[in-house]
């Protein structure tokens, strides 16, 4: 049984996502849509963490080292300028996909375990994570031409 492994993974990934969303929101305050939306998305991920708590109690949690490495690879801290904003959103897109994949993997296990609670949490959280990813992609597409071509 390795469900605890993925619970640990998704837990760590969501925590990191909250942290980075808040950092990006604070740092890019001059882009009000980025600030406000990142704060909203951080609140969603915090809610996911709350949903996770009883499941962690049920299945236990194996701490994974991956997320730490991931953060180093993906996010050194917020950058400035239009290219910096693009790169920060780029990293958030990758991080939310990491979370998304965790929910997908866990949902598969939940079905095999016939654990309706776990399946429901994976579905609900996965749906919101997808909306997070969709926002990053939309905002990236908006910012990319100007940042890369003009300034």
């Amino acid at each position: 049984m390795h469900v605890g492994n993925y619970l640990g993974l998704v837990h760590g990934s969501e925590e990191r996502l909250v942290d980075v969303l808040r950092k990006v929101a604070r740092h890019h305050r001059d882009e009000p849509d980025v600030e406000q939306t990142c704060l909203l998305l951080a609140a969603w991920s915090e809610k996911h963490l709350k949903f996770l708590r009883p499941l962690v109690e049920k299945y236990g949690e194996e701490k994974n080292p991956e997320p730490d490495d991931l953060e180093v690879a993906l996010f050194h801290g917020p950058r400035t300028g239009s290219l910096g904003l693009l790169r920060d959103l780029h990293d958030l897109w990758l991080m939310s996909n990491e979370v998304q994949l965790c929910w997908t993997v866990l949902e598969q296990a939940a079905q095999a375990l016939r654990d309706d609670d776990l399946e429901r949490v994976c579905k609900e959280c996965g749906k919101e994570t997808k909306r997070q990813t969709a926002f990053f992609l939309t905002r990236i597409k908006q910012a990319a031409p100007q940042a890369l071509v003009v300034a």
Partner: protein
């Protein structure tokens, strides 16, 4: 002088009552200062109603107006702005020659010099930085022909995605909500529905003050047999609210919660039209689930509206046989703008009250010609309601204009106004061309806007009829002709296209916006891919013919219209084509909506984040002609009162004034009726802060400060209101523009800024007794400096004595 009534003190005039079985009677309003030699057909351009009128001309000058009795929109009536606004055409301070900033001062120049400079800077900037460094910020005041010409110049000539205008501030949410629900822009209903309906609901819409002639139409129903019931949702006790059967006064920013509560009551009463839902909509189950928790008690908690009032409104909505809803800035400029506007659409869809006489939705416009910016693509849309995410739609445009597909910017969403200003702020847009609008008064957080306009690395062109607060900060000012001095068409909320003709010559060397754009296109030598000139027309009629081709087969089909047809007696609602030669009163009478993946103007967006739905996702659930029901959960506004700023702040228009008072402030009767801004507050708050009627009040937010006179009453405790037309051109002595205080935020979907809520503090202000507190001093000095302009073109006058309204009407309604 002939004046059929004193419209300043008798805003709506005498009643001509009628019942639902009779048509709206005529009543011709007229105001002339001399006997005209001739009358010229026009259309009023001073609110979004678009009333037909005749312009009286004597010796080459406009001497008055009279309503057009045959017109479907007003049957001869005109409001105070329509009857008096034309006076501004004759104002002494019209701009008559181009100006170029030399040695820090705006100095007179020839048209050749000014246009050569504009063209040289355009070319240099495009050469060095690509067309992505060029932005256009247009108006809700130009004509269709001008917008379309501008759209082709921008999208196919330069190829810049940065085109938008002040319609983003007034009407973007109307467009977004219609697209999200019905697949395409365009109002389902018509003004005529008001003549026969059983119930009218105004959501965030003070129609009595904003669209006085439309309100006359409603008053005439209210005064007739079997009057309709009236539900008004507005936090202030406005003129509109005073006539309501039920007035709901929610806390600012809580529209979604209230509307969810109303939809829930309709469902609970078993009033949903199951057959309509099954045949013509998708998404009802999600809506039902979402609104379940919005009980009247929870709604009371979230919005402050007593549960019994929510129930009373719910009962009317569940039992009425027909319903007309109108929506405006109280929704569009507030929290969750698109989500809330869509809930009004949902209310109609669940009851099947759409596409039938007496049942319509009017997602209103703030400006008269803003519908045309949306149709033509002079704002962040594509011409003819085309979808930027649909490659076939882009190919249609490329073929029409004979340019390569990749010339047309469609790689990402068109840049919305607030982002254009941000790009100017960060320096990646280096050339900004502003037409007939005044962002230095109308945009949020004015201190920021002044800083942007004064940036050394931003070349600003302003095209206007007057030396506005914005024009003062420009590098080049181009004098423009206005209404009455040029011919063109425009479309009102009822989809009705009107023509407005040239009655007199513009003053001095002023030119129509169309002629300025055509001159620019010639000098830039824009060409299509065969080497022919890109712009193939040289007058308004030619532009109109070109536009008609662009709309062929689209929802806003103009192909059956001609100038002659429009001059024949009234405006005509689109689509007008072979199938509908006399126009189309109502859309969706067959319950079929343009939502199919190949037709839709958008694939939709996430209400909370603005994330785009992809083409693949949309096609996977193609609604194929069914309307989309999209629910939304309530969210708290982004700035809420706290200890430091304990009051809610909101803004709005007054009856006598329109868009930063550039024209209406120069029409003497209108200016004297409401000469100054004020701060409206409740009796409770006045007592708490020791403020009496007419005291000076200092209002501060985190962004700025203003000083206004107090006006007490007709508003909920905890909320203060300031009308936002007031800038500095006629009184630079103190900061009084409401937008010194408003915040830089916008709706995730429509990108319309949030003007309707902010947190502020107030205090009695006695200039003689007290120095302003630390921090405030520098902000007020900064504001005052900004008001005068960076080079002090005019000295500030000290005329801050109490300007009293010369009207017997309340001016806070």
């Amino acid at each position: 002088m002939t004046q059929t009534r004193d419209s300043i003190n008798d805003i709506w005039g005498a009643r001509t009552p009628h019942g639902a079985d009779a048509s709206w009677p005529e009543r011709v309003d007229e105001h002339i200062t001399d006997t005209p030699d001739r009358w010229v057909r026009g259309t009023c351009v001073l609110c979004s109603n678009g009333c037909g009128l005749d312009i009286g001309v004597k010796d080459g000058r406009i001497v008055g107006v009279r309503g057009l009795a045959t017109d479907v929109t007003n049957k001869g009536r005109l409001g105070p702005k329509g009857l008096h606004g034309w006076v501004a055409n004759n104002a002494e301070d019209r701009l008559t020659r181009p100006l170029i900033r030399r040695d820090g001062r705006l100095q007179e120049a020839t048209w050749d010099e000014a246009m050569e400079l504009v063209v040289r800077r355009s070319k240099e900037i495009v050469e060095q930085h690509t067309s992505g460094a060029v932005g256009f910020y247009t108006s809700g005041q130009l004509f269709l022909e001008e917008y379309y010409t501008l759209a082709v110049i921008g999208k196919a000539g330069l190829g810049t995605p940065h085109m938008d205008g002040n319609t983003r501030l007034c009407t973007a949410t109307a467009a977004a909500a219609l697209k999200e629900s019905f697949g395409s822009d365009g109002q389902p209903g018509a003004y005529e529905d008001l003549d026969v309906t059983d119930t009218i609901m105004h959501v965030g819409h003070n129609v009595a003050s904003q669209q006085t002639v439309l309100w006359m139409r409603i008053l005439d129903r209210l005064a007739g047999p079997n009057p309709p019931k009236l539900i008004v949702i507005d936090p202030r006790r406005t003129f509109t609210a005073e006539k309501a059967t039920v007035h709901l006064a929610p806390r600012v920013g809580t529209n979604v919660a209230l509307l969810n509560g109303l939809i829930r009551l309709v469902i609970e009463a078993g009033a949903v039209d199951r057959d309509f839902l099954d045949a013509h909509t998708v998404g009802y189950d999600a809506l039902k689930k979402t609104v379940e928790t919005y009980t009247p008690e929870r709604v009371e908690e979230l919005t402050g509206v007593p549960a019994r009032d929510v129930r009373a409104a719910g009962e009317i909505l569940a039992t009425t046989r027909t319903l007309v809803s109108t929506v405006l800035q109280g929704v569009y400029q507030s929290m969750q703008a698109t989500a809330a506007a869509v809930q009004v659409n949902n209310l109609h869809l669940v009851r099947g009250l759409i596409g039938k006489p007496g049942s319509g939705i009017l997602q209103m416009n703030g400006q008269p010609t803003s519908q045309n910016t949306r149709e033509t693509g002079a704002d962040g849309d594509l011409p003819g309601f085309r979808n930027w995410g649909n490659p076939d739609h882009i190919r249609q445009l490329a073929k029409l204009w004979n340019v390569p597909v990749n010339k047309i910017p469609h790689w990402s969403p068109p840049t919305h106004a607030m982002q254009i200003w941000r790009y100017c702020e960060t320096g990646s847009i280096k050339f900004l061309w502003i037409q007939a609008t005044n962002p230095a008064v109308s945009l949020p957080e004015l201190g920021r806007i002044r800083r942007i306009l004064q940036k050394e690395d931003l070349f600003v062109v302003v095209q206007d009829a007057f030396m506005t607060e914005t024009a003062r900060l420009a590098d080049v000012v181009l004098p423009a002709a206005i209404w009455g001095e040029k011919t063109g068409t425009f479309t009102n909320v009822s989809r009705t296209v009107h023509i407005s003709c040239k009655a007199v010559e513009p003053p001095g060397e002023a030119r129509s916006d169309l002629d300025i754009f055509l001159d620019y296109a010639r000098r830039m030598d824009f060409r299509d891919q065969d080497g022919s000139p890109l712009i193939r027309w040289d007058d308004a009629r030619g532009a109109f013919e070109a536009w008609k081709e662009c709309t062929r087969g689209r929802p806003c089909d103009y192909t059956g219209l001609t100038y002659e047809k429009l001059l024949a007696g009234s405006g005509i609602p689109w689509p007008v084509n072979e199938r509908h030669p006399d126009g189309t009163l109502r859309l969706y009478t067959d319950g079929v909506f343009p939502t199919g993946a190949d037709e839709a103007e958008t694939y939709g967006q996430d209400f909370d984040t603005g994330a785009s739905v992809t083409a693949e996702e949309y096609r996977a659930n193609d609604p194929k002609g069914r309307a989309l029901i999209k629910p939304a959960e309530h969210q708290e506004p982004h700035e809420v009162p706290d200890d430091a700023y304990p009051l809610w702040f909101t803004t709005g228009r007054q009856v006598y004034h329109f868009h930063t008072r550039t024209k209406t402030g120069r029409a003497r009767a209108l200016a004297e009726a409401a000469p100054d801004a004020f701060v409206q507050l409740s009796q409770e708050d006045a007592q708490r802060y020791g403020i009496e009627q007419d005291d000076w009040v200092l209002v501060e937010s985190r962004r700025g400060a203003i000083i206004e006179r107090a006006r007490i009453g007709n508003i909920e405790p905890g909320l203060v209101f300031v009308p936002w037309h007031y800038g500095s051109w006629d009184d630079p002595s103190r900061p009084r523009a409401a937008n010194e205080l408003t915040l830089t935020e916008w709706d995730p979907v429509s990108k319309q800024p949030h003007y309707k809520y902010a947190a502020v503090r107030i205090s009695r202000y006695d200039a003689k007794d007290a120095l302003p507190p630390m921090g405030l001093m520098s902000r007020t000095i900064d504001a005052a400096r900004g008001l005068i302009g960076r080079h002090g073109d005019e000295a500030a006058s000290a005329k801050s004595e109490f300007a009293r309204p010369k009207t017997t009407q309340r001016v806070d309604g």
